[in-house]
């Protein structure tokens, strides 16, 4: 019965370093976020318009690559060591992947930030999606590759721990937190194949001048092959916190361990074969493939909807154990004065709203309405920007004392901080959603046009902009409070009565879960098959159309023939033609 730092002092150092890297990225990212909100709403413009895109690239990469993933590796390491009750196998290996991730981030960040000065040719104003033919300096791509390899090794580290544990405990169920880590990492290995191929085979050689052209649709599709599952990579650590920590902070226990396992298996299976839903409005991809991606995406809602029930039920269990009564009265019995609980609960509430706008995004044809409008950042600031980010900040108030052994500087400021984030995000994201419906574009420095105006049914454009700016300012202040609180905590004096690092037993334990759920090989195989089903045909058809290295005179026909000789392209065309013509036929019939 002791705090994490006493159980695993060596691991605590790595985890601490990962948290600090993550917070550093958050702080910088928030500063850029503030510049963006004030610039695009025309309240304060301290940079020339062209520089907005350098800022936006930095904001995107720092937030969704550095902040989220460094945080993830920290709590995944915590989860594996705590739930297996053993340290990592070799701490030098652990430090090496941490080092690689840091080096990768530094490379990418230098390439991006160099865009601010004219003293060097280096720049990477390509946003975090780096769609070709926009090109970044090779250092940017190298940085991303190093970072991803770092995460691969981190995964290897956790698998290695599990493997060693399994030798000693052959008949035990995989503890739930470790199970969550392993399934998430399998998904990650599968997903990163897309972006790794895109960068290593195409974008990096292209930026080095080894090849002349790339196929923009191919690199874009490979990006989204990874780009959708990556959102679950951000979300899974937050889900893990909701499943295993939120019940603890509510004074209850996880409602059902088996269902939690089912949910993570579903994410492993369904996260990847859906990426084409980001390309509903792309030319060069058959309607049939888009329809298939749409149905897969809709079924991917299921694990999230199940999570909503299980997590709320666990909170309710806590509330009732604390004396809560009635249909809704129990909500009052929850520990709302605890910033860890409140932050997570508010994050979950915002996820419910973000989930809804995500359902709209998923709806193939309704995507015409919202695609690339301000609605989209409105959506993902609720999901990754709050459900994930706010959960992370909230649990940090628990974890930082655990891994430093220091006293939390201020619980009151922490409570103000999480509520302020919630309020700020309510303003910013609501106005972004509404602006998007008017047709306001995302990723635009100065969305003010000479030839037309946005037509509002209710309110005015000025009012929307004011809400976005106000929300952005509150969010930045909230981040500032967080960073200050965490910094003081890290330097605070030792806390000798930290709560012990335990995870309470679920109400319905792992032994209720069918054994097959722990069969990772089986789920991996099914996940691979589903990805092959969903992607081999679209990819073959894209290569068939545009060539591996782009359409037109610049393509290398040799590779085209290769794709043909596999007979892939032919099958691909036939299948997509079948689904498309089915839709067409139905259309004529109706």
């Amino acid at each position: 019965m002791s705090a994490y730092i006493d159980q695993f002092p060596e691991e605590a150092k790595v985890i601490r370093s990962a948290f600090y890297a993550s917070f550093f990225a958050l702080a910088l990212g928030a500063a850029f976020g503030l510049i963006q909100t004030l610039h695009r709403t025309d309240f304060v413009r301290i940079i020339p318009a062209e520089m907005y895109y350098t800022v936006l690239t930095a904001h995107g990469v720092l937030m969704v690559v550095t902040f989220t993933i460094f945080f993830l590796v920290a709590i995944f390491t915590w989860a594996v060591t705590t739930s297996l009750d053993r340290g990592v196998e070799d701490i030098r290996f652990t430090w090496s992947w941490y080092g690689l991730m840091t080096l990768g981030t530094a490379f990418a960040a230098i390439a991006i930030l160099a865009g601010f000065t004219d003293r060097t040719e280096i720049s990477a104003d390509v946003l975090f999606t780096f769609y070709a033919p926009l090109q970044a300096h090779p250092m940017f791509y190298v940085g991303l590759v190093l970072f991803v390899i770092g995460t691969w090794l981190a995964g290897a580290d956790w698998f290695r721990s599990w493997w060693a544990w399994k030798q000693e405990n052959p008949d035990k169920r995989i503890p739930l937190p470790t199970f969550m880590v392993l399934t998430t990492m399998i998904m990650w290995y599968l997903a990163t194949l897309g972006v790794a191929t895109s960068i290593i085979a195409f974008l990096l050689p292209w930026s080095l001048g080894l090849i002349d052209t790339v196929n923009p649709t191919l690199t874009r599709t490979l990006f989204w092959f990874w780009g959708h599952p990556v959102v679950y990579f951000w979300l899974m650590p937050a889900y893990m916190m909701w499943y295993i920590m939120l019940p603890k902070f509510s004074g209850g226990r996880l409602f059902s361990d088996p269902l939690a396992r089912v949910v993570f298996v579903l994410f492993l299976l369904l996260s990847t074969p859906v990426g084409i839903h980001h390309q509903y409005l792309d030319p060069g991809i058959a309607e049939g493939f888009k329809f298939i991606a749409m149905t897969n995406t809709m079924f991917l809602l299921l694990p999230s909807l199940l999570t909503a029930f299980t997590v709320v039920a666990s909170m309710e269990h806590g509330a009732r154990q604390r004396g809560g009564e009635g249909y809704f009265g129990w909500l009052g019995a929850l520990p709302w004065r605890d910033p860890v609980f409140t932050g997570m609960a508010l994050a979950g509430l915002m996820f419910a709203a973000g989930g809804f706008s995500g359902m709209i995004n998923a709806g193939m044809n309704i995507n015409y309405l919202v695609h690339n409008s301000l609605w989209v950042p409105g959506h993902f600031h609720l999901t990754v920007g709050t459900a994930v980010a706010l959960t992370f900040m909230a649990v940090s108030y628990y974890f930082i004392p655990q891994v430093t052994g220091r006293r939390l500087a201020s619980k009151q400021i922490a409570l103000v901080q999480v509520v302020m984030w919630f309020v700020g995000m309510t303003f910013m994201s609501n106005a972004m959603h509404r602006g998007g419906l008017l047709g306001m574009p995302r990723r635009t420095a100065e969305p003010e046009y000479a030839g037309f105006q946005f037509e509002t049914a209710i309110g005015t454009v000025g009012e929307l902009n004011a809400q976005i700016a106000l929300g952005g300012v509150l969010l930045t202040l909230s981040t500032l409070l967080f960073i200050v609180n965490m910094s003081i905590t890290a330097l605070n004096d030792r806390d000798d009565d930290l709560p012990s690092n335990t995870i309470p037993e679920p109400l319905s334990g792992p032994n209720e879960a069918p054994l097959v759920l722990d069969n990772l090989k089986l789920w991996t195989a099914i996940a691979v098959v589903l990805v092959i089903f969903a992607y081999s045909l679209p990819l073959a058809s894209i290569v068939e159309r545009g060539g591996l290295f782009g359409p037109g005179g610049d393509a290398f026909p040799m590779f085209l023939e290769l794709a043909d000789s596999f007979g892939f392209a032919l099958v691909g065309e036939t299948l997509s033609a079948m689904v498309s013509s089915l839709l067409e036929t139905l259309r004529t019939v109706v």
Binding site: P133, P216, G284, G363, N365, H371, G439, R587
Partner: protein, 295 residues
């Protein structure tokens, strides 16, 4: 596995919701015929758009009764036609109650073509052609913008679609003008304008000639997809020439589309002779169609 009854209930509700969503979308797709941007067009060499049969001929073309194709090039940082670039206001002009198919491609990076506040919205990817068919049922103006980051000038990438009443829409262009190169003050000169009608119906063109300070107007019936000529006879003696050395003239045909502004008018000048023995040699003032707009 022990699942609580309430949770089972929620599982069923969640599945129904998911199926409901899929059904709604399928209804939109099949029942209402909302098509997705797809792979129906061949790929195109982004470095050679001018050689492409469609993108070598940008602008509005009639393809059937009330049906039009518009070929649009989206490039850093304009739409052609659509944007006001290099001082030329070049909106896309189409008639009311028409079914218009927009073909958009890019010679450089990824853009979008998005009609503001509507459901007409597509990515534009170099090497691919995006096709959208939409119905314009109301005479009004729409904004167009690019909503995919395409470089440092991305925020300035905008344009306009003008939907005009049917009777104000024409596809005329001035194919050529025959005017004397020089004349003597007091002479009568003949200026012949040839007008092309690209529409699939015969239409009467209001052709006007501005010469000196005067304006003349001729009504000209032009058959579908063909050309016709009209001749203006001008008595230079009646013009208020003061002591000019040239008489400037401009022939304009009333055209729905300002997009073809350059084709819609032709101008030149007639040198005023003081010397008696110079001939009235008439040369063809060459006004070949330029391929729509500025480059």
């Amino acid at each position: 596995m022990n699942i609580h009854n309430y949770e089972k209930l929620w599982l069923i509700a969640a599945m129904l919701l998911i199926i409901g969503f899929i059904v709604t979308i399928t209804y939109g797709s099949v029942g209402l015929g909302i098509a997705m941007i797809d792979d129906s067009e061949e790929t195109i060499d982004p470095n050679a758009l001018e050689d492409h049969e469609r993108f070598g001929d940008l602008g509005v073309h009639q393809t059937g009764d009330g049906e039009y194709d518009v070929n649009i090039r989206a490039y850093q940082f304009n739409f052609e036609p659509g944007s006001s670039a290099l001082g030329v206001h070049d909106p896309i002009v189409v008639p009311e109650n028409s079914e218009v198919t927009l073909y958009v491609t890019s010679p450089d990076v990824i853009h979008s073509f998005s009609v503001v506040g509507t459901n007409a919205n597509t990515m534009v990817v170099p090497g691919e052609i995006s096709v959208m068919t939409v119905e314009f049922n109301e005479a009004r103006e729409y904004g167009i913008l690019c909503n995919e980051y395409c470089g440092s000038g991305h925020h300035g990438m905008e344009g306009v679609i003008e939907v005009v009443p049917e009777d104000e829409f024409h596809l005329f262009s001035v194919a050529g003008v025959d005017a004397p190169e020089s004349a003597q003050a007091g002479d009568e000169v003949e200026i012949t304008a040839t007008v092309d009608n690209d529409a699939l119906d015969a239409d009467s063109a209001a052709v006007s000639l501005e010469i000196g300070e005067e304006t003349f107007e001729n009504e000209l019936e032009v058959d579908a997809e063909s050309s016709a000529s009209t001749t203006f006879t001008v008595d230079t003696g009646a013009l208020d020439l003061e002591d000019a050395v040239d008489i400037d003239w401009t022939v304009t045909v009333e055209d729905g589309s300002e997009a073809t502004l350059e084709d819609g008018s032709a101008s030149g000048s007639i040198a005023l002779e003081t010397d008696d023995d110079e001939n009235d040699d008439t040369t063809d003032d060459d006004n070949d169609e330029s391929d729509g707009g500025d480059q």
